[in-house]
């Protein structure tokens, strides 16, 4: 850690991981409800658990992005953060708003929450991923503005690098597209059309810029490769992301009302969307192969390479699988969608955040890298979570193929609920994989405590009981 104010990133990272744990626990509740339909009914209906699951995901990813920005912007700008106190204040506002929202979801019926929070004044609730009460959304906008002001001023007053510029463009885009969540006309087609301006233009647009900047930062730091090379890669990756991803939005416009020409625009451009993800994979492996130094934080490098590979698998391969209009006609809104959603979010945005956290946390705690023991745990966590997520994806894909065949493709299509019972085996297998995933996350959390313990008791290392951090060799 080069600048004192980078320390504001720490609470963001800790809260992010806490929310990640909550997300996964609710994911498992959902998984069980898929096969034991009345599990926790009527106390926690499926839709409530699902909101907690997906909203916790989004909030912790945003927390992670903010923490990452607060960490990397001062270092790139070579100066202290413009207003560290503001970053602290926003952290608490964001965390409390998120906590109150989740309590609202769980404590009162959703309709009551809508009433209590004045949804009828400006109705924005009740749409997938945007379920937060309108006042929470306003809170998010305020936090985002204060955050952008803070890092924007830091960039303006300091050294301007491509990494910080791309990060900033991505974050501004994130805030701008979120504003479409306030547009909710009665006209269902318009509602859906612009809903995708938030969801798609986030994950297949501006978030890729944020991800690219974070990946570039960690790779510069851990491999020592020349900045010029990294920056050229970064530009070309994000250029491909926006060139394919913006018109690629059309892959969501096939069956919700807009004209049929979107089937062409959407299919052609979104078929190219895997390119930037593929380039990130090549980029990451190239940089690590050409490294000029061996950074002691081996775990961070593993997370970075894992991000590059699994983002390509989840977004690129599983995205391509169902993106062409004639295929999407059958897969639209099936378990194939859920399979892709899981691996893409995990591979790209969960892993890039963990990469950053894994790289930065030891430094925030005053050491270049954690003890070997702690890093080995992290590597276990990586493999447990990644392999179980790949299995979740495979089981959902199998369920999806059967579902599509039985419900949409055969001469004698069966009703939805009948089909769900026929494919229940795969849902059971998904729950089992989910438990392994939870174990992996537990291992990851444990690695922090082991790292702290080993840092406090270096005698154990000297006595040869524990392997030292590679930083010491």
């Amino acid at each position: 850690m080069k600048y004192k104010s980078q320390a504001v990133a720490k609470p963001y990272f800790i809260a992010a991981i806490g929310l990640f744990l909550a997300q996964v626990i609710f994911g498992i509740i959902l998984g069980i409800q898929y096969v034991v339909g009345d599990f926790l009914f009527p106390e926690i209906p499926f839709n409530v658990a699902r909101m907690v699951h997906t909203n916790a995901l989004i909030v912790w990813l945003l927390m992670g992005f903010m923490g990452a920005a607060y960490y990397l912007i001062p270092e790139e700008s070579e100066r202290e953060l413009y207003a560290p106190w503001l970053a602290h204040l926003m952290f608490w506002i964001f965390l409390i708003a998120a906590a109150l929202t989740v309590i609202g979801y769980l404590a009162v019926p959703y309709a009551r929450l809508a009433e209590m929070t004045g949804n009828d004044i400006l109705p924005t609730m009740g749409r997938e991923f945007l379920e937060q009460p309108t006042i929470t959304k306003v809170g998010i906008v305020i936090v985002a503005l204060a955050f952008l002001f803070n890092i924007g001023m830091t960039v303006l007053k300091g050294r301007k690098t491509v990494v910080s510029l791309v990060m900033l463009i991505g974050l501004v885009g994130l805030a701008v597209f979120f504003l479409f969540s306030f547009y909710n006309p009665t006209n269902l087609v318009l509602d859906k059309f612009f809903w995708w301006w938030v969801v798609h233009l986030w994950v297949e647009g501006v978030w890729e810029l944020i991800m690219g900047a974070m990946l570039a930062f960690v790779l510069i730091k851990t491999t020592g490769v020349d900045r010029e090379v990294v920056e050229k890669w970064l530009y070309i990756i994000i250029a491909m992301a926006l060139i394919t991803g913006i018109i690629g939005t059309g892959h969501h416009f096939y069956w919700i009302g807009p004209p049929e020409y979107w089937q062409w625009w959407g299919s052609i451009f979104s078929a190219l969307e895997p390119l930037p993800f593929f380039m990130m994979t090549v980029f990451a492996f190239n940089m690590v192969n050409q490294r000029r130094r061996n950074h002691p934080n081996k775990a961070a490098v593993l997370w970075a390479l894992g991000t590059a590979v699994l983002a390509f698998l989840g977004a690129g391969v599983w995205g391509f699988l169902h993106t062409l209009a004639p295929v999407n006609y059958y897969t639209h809104g099936s378990q194939i969608t859920a399979a892709h959603g899981h691996l893409a979010f995990y591979g790209a945005y969960v892993l890039i955040n963990i990469t950053m956290i894994s790289y930065a946390m030891p430094l925030l705690n005053g050491r270049e890298a954690n003890s070997m023991r702690s890093q080995v745990l992290e590597m276990w966590a990586f493999w447990l979570m990644s392999i179980s997520m790949v299995f979740i994806t495979l089981f959902l894909t199998a369920a999806g193929i059967l579902q599509i065949f039985l419900q949409r493709y055969t001469e004698t299509p069966l009703p939805f609920m009948v089909v769900q019972e026929k494919v229940a085996l795969f849902y059971w297998l998904r729950v089992i994989s989910g438990l392994v995933f939870l174990g992996g996350l537990g291992t990851y959390i444990a690695s922090f405590f082991v790292a702290a313990h080993d840092a406090k008791h270096p005698q154990a290392i000297e006595a040869g009981k524990v392997q030292p951090s590679p930083a010491a060799v």
Binding site: N119, P123, G126, Y235, I236, P415
Partner: protein
């Protein structure tokens, strides 16, 4: 080779490409907005009519009860419960059948099965929801879903 393709060329592709495709996307959006009136049943939404008021109320109830948290609507939402974009046609173009289904959900669920909550809607609210679902089913969705099962 590496020298031929410089960083400033990469940067220009990024800025030039982004601006070009943002403008193209806006142009396509504009064209779509001209085409939509023929496809999205907006004439039904006129708030000076009773149907229009019912649809608006129905969409509000759809949202404030988070129906999308279990169901898909035109293929978007959750995959836990059946598609509802075509429920009106699946129930034989019968709004009363939709109302009866929603009204008859047991408060404590169906043991061992995925159950829909009992929302205790008034008759007026049920009318509004059924009207909203009828309207949804009449949107031109380019022939989706493939069959009546959704």
């Amino acid at each position: 080779m590496a020298q031929v393709f410089t960083k400033s060329m990469a940067r220009n592709i990024f800025y030039g490409g982004s601006v070009f495709f943002i403008l193209l996307f806006l142009a396509l959006t504009l064209d779509t907005s001209f085409a939509l009136p023929e496809r999205d049943q907006r004439h039904q939404l006129d708030l000076s009519t009773e149907v229009g008021q019912r649809i608006a109320k129905g969409k509000e109830l759809w949202e404030t009860n988070n129906c999308i948290g279990c169901h898909t609507l035109l293929g978007e939402g959750a995959y836990f419960a059946p598609e509802l974009g075509n429920i009106y046609t699946r129930f034989g173009n019968n709004k009363e059948a939709i109302k009866a289904f929603i009204q008859s959900r047991p408060a404590m669920g169906i043991p061992g099965r995925r159950s829909m909550p009992q929302f205790n809607f008034s008759d007026e609210e049920l009318d509004a929801i059924a009207e909203f679902l009828k309207y949804s089913s009449e949107i031109n969705t380019a022939g989706w879903p493939p069959n009546i099962q959704g």
